[in-house]
């Protein structure tokens, strides 16, 4: 044999990639689509009801977030959310439910290290970066808006 997969690290990486099973991407996308869509539809139902009761859109969206986060925390605490997540993948990760689950799950995980440094300290080990990047980016957006006094692209 002239060349072996072990000749260089690159050869081996290519070889391993050809040997490793792929995720069933079509099935995963289908599940992600309908679960994610369903979660958003539930959100829309709640939001429509809030607006029907006379709340403005911002307040309605906040209530949607809080209710979905509560449902996620509940499902996580009865050990059900990880099963949904395994089935739906991005379908439950990308909506606000994924953010809530990534705060609730380490909080539960590190309960054995105590309620202050365990639950309190480790709560943001997974979701911390989301807040860091989200909040920092929003401050930049605010400052840029202050400088240019416009949102740079206005369509129409």
């Amino acid at each position: 044999m002239n060349s072996s997969p072990l000749d260089t690290k690159q050869d081996y990486e290519n070889y391993v990639n050809s040997k490793s099973p792929n995720s069933p991407i079509l099935k995963n996308c289908f599940n992600a689509f309908w679960v994610g869509g369903l979660i958003c539809t539930i959100g829309q139902l709640i939001s429509s009801y809030c607006q029907y009761r006379g709340l403005d859109q911002n307040m309605s969206n906040t209530i949607v977030s809080i209710i979905l986060i509560f449902i996620t925390a509940f499902l996580t605490s009865i050990n059900l959310f990880n099963k949904i997540g395994k089935f739906a993948g991005a379908g439950s990760l990308v909506p606000i439910t994924g953010f809530a689950n990534s705060i609730v799950s380490p909080a539960m995980e590190y309960k054995s290290e105590g309620y202050v440094m365990g639950v309190g300290g480790k709560m943001f080990t997974v979701a911390g970066p989301v807040l860091v990047f989200g909040i920092s980016a929003s401050i930049l957006v605010g400052i840029l808006y202050l400088i240019f006094n416009t949102q740079s692209i206005i369509i129409m």
Binding site: M1, S4, P5, L6, K9, Q10, Y12, E13, Y15, V16, K19, S20, P21, N22, S23, N28, T76, N79, F81, N82, K83, I84, G85, K86, A88, G89, S92, L93, G98, N101, S102, V104, S105, P106, M108, E109, Y110, S112, T125, V126
Partner: protein
């Protein structure tokens, strides 16, 4: 005891594996090898309030079990070699803190069981000890917590990911006994082929297993058909296929008598373990439960156990380092 070839040690008065014991968790208890294990747990906490405590309890109880099965008084066991996957090997040191046997904590990631058998047989052969206890453990939940994500996080495991075996496997090596005997050991070198994906450990460890396998054959002058069975520790389905192909390309056909403990311990289809089992306890419980039984019943007479380890940790993984692999081979004959 003398060294043959580059890195193999041949024992002139081969130590006997006197007795073994295994305790496994709930998932392993539903696997194909369940009937070979000494004790199957129904819940992963085993009455404790943390997984770390549960893992310590497993290695403690499995060690006590193997001692009582061997009928040896505790004073006759001269040394204990133990290890696990958690930082600073706390499962073994906490689990065995009351056992009153001189203790060596060892770490070889998932290859720790073979490492303890290697070092233990050297201690016995060199007359430093009459009996040595080798114990290892791993726990799915404590390993996930340390190396990956919280258990309740709703994420998908890639198809190449492996499932850490929950359990503990122990063996007592003895100067005297009727076998099975450890006749040769081939401690392996660290081999790093640059794999960085911690969800593909089998691929990261396969080159190390290949190196140890070929070195063993070259040093001993044996060939694959000498053994009734060749078993790697936890290469899983991905690593097993890679090792088979690479060995064949180097002129060693192991297709007919080779299997992997991580493939044996779970039923891939019904248990959803993707690429198979991993962890210190994978090789240890499969050997202590299934393989030792087969040796005792003379279904296998000569086996080669190659436990493989991925020498990584969560910090190096985050720093973008690759995963070095290691593999130690132990030749066991009756």
């Amino acid at each position: 005891m003398n060294r043959i070839g580059n890195q193999t040690i041949k024992f002139n008065n081969p130590p006997t594996i006197l007795e073994t014991a295994s305790i496994v968790g709930p998932k392993e208890s539903n696997g194909p090898l369940a009937k070979y294990f000494d004790k199957c747990l129904e819940d992963e906490f085993w009455g404790e309030n943390s997984w770390e405590k549960a893992e310590s309890k497993m290695i403690k109880e499995a060690s006590n079990l193997v001692i009582s099965k061997s009928n040896l008084p505790i004073d006759d066991i001269n040394f204990c070699l133990a290890g696990d996957l958690l930082n600073q090997c706390i499962s073994s040191s906490f689990g065995l803190r009351e056992i009153n046997i001189p203790f060596f904590g060892i770490f070889g990631a998932c290859s720790t069981f073979a490492e303890s058998l290697c070092l233990g047989s050297i201690l016995v052969e060199s007359n430093a000890a009459n009996n040595v206890l080798c114990s290892v453990s791993s726990h799915f939940c404590s390993a996930e917590k340390q190396f990956r994500f919280p258990l309740e996080l709703g994420n998908q495991r890639p198809q190449s990911a492996q499932w850490t075996v929950t359990g503990s496997g122990c063996a007592i090596l003895s100067k005297t006994g009727q076998g099975p005997y450890i006749t040769h050991i081939t401690p392996g070198k660290i081999i790093d082929m640059g794999i960085k994906d911690s969800n593909n450990m089998g691929a990261a460890m396969a080159p190390a297993a290949l190196d140890t396998l070929i070195t063993h054959f070259k040093d001993t002058g044996r060939n694959p058909s000498y053994y009734d069975g060749i078993f790697t520790g936890d290469l899983g389905y991905v690593g097993k296929e890679i090792l088979k192909e690479l060995a064949l390309s180097k002129g060693y056909n192991i297709n007919s008598n080779y299997n992997d403990c991580g493939v044996l311990i779970f039923d891939k289809d019904s248990q959803d373990t993707h690429s198979g089992g991993s962890g210190c306890a994978c090789a240890a419980t499969v050997f202590s439960g299934y393989l030792f039984n087969q040796l005792k019943e003379k279904k296998y007479k000569k086996i080669l156990l190659i436990a493989t380890g991925a020498l990584t940790n969560s910090t190096t993984a985050q720093q973008g380092e690759s995963i070095p692999g290691i593999a130690h081979a132990v030749s066991i004959e009756i």
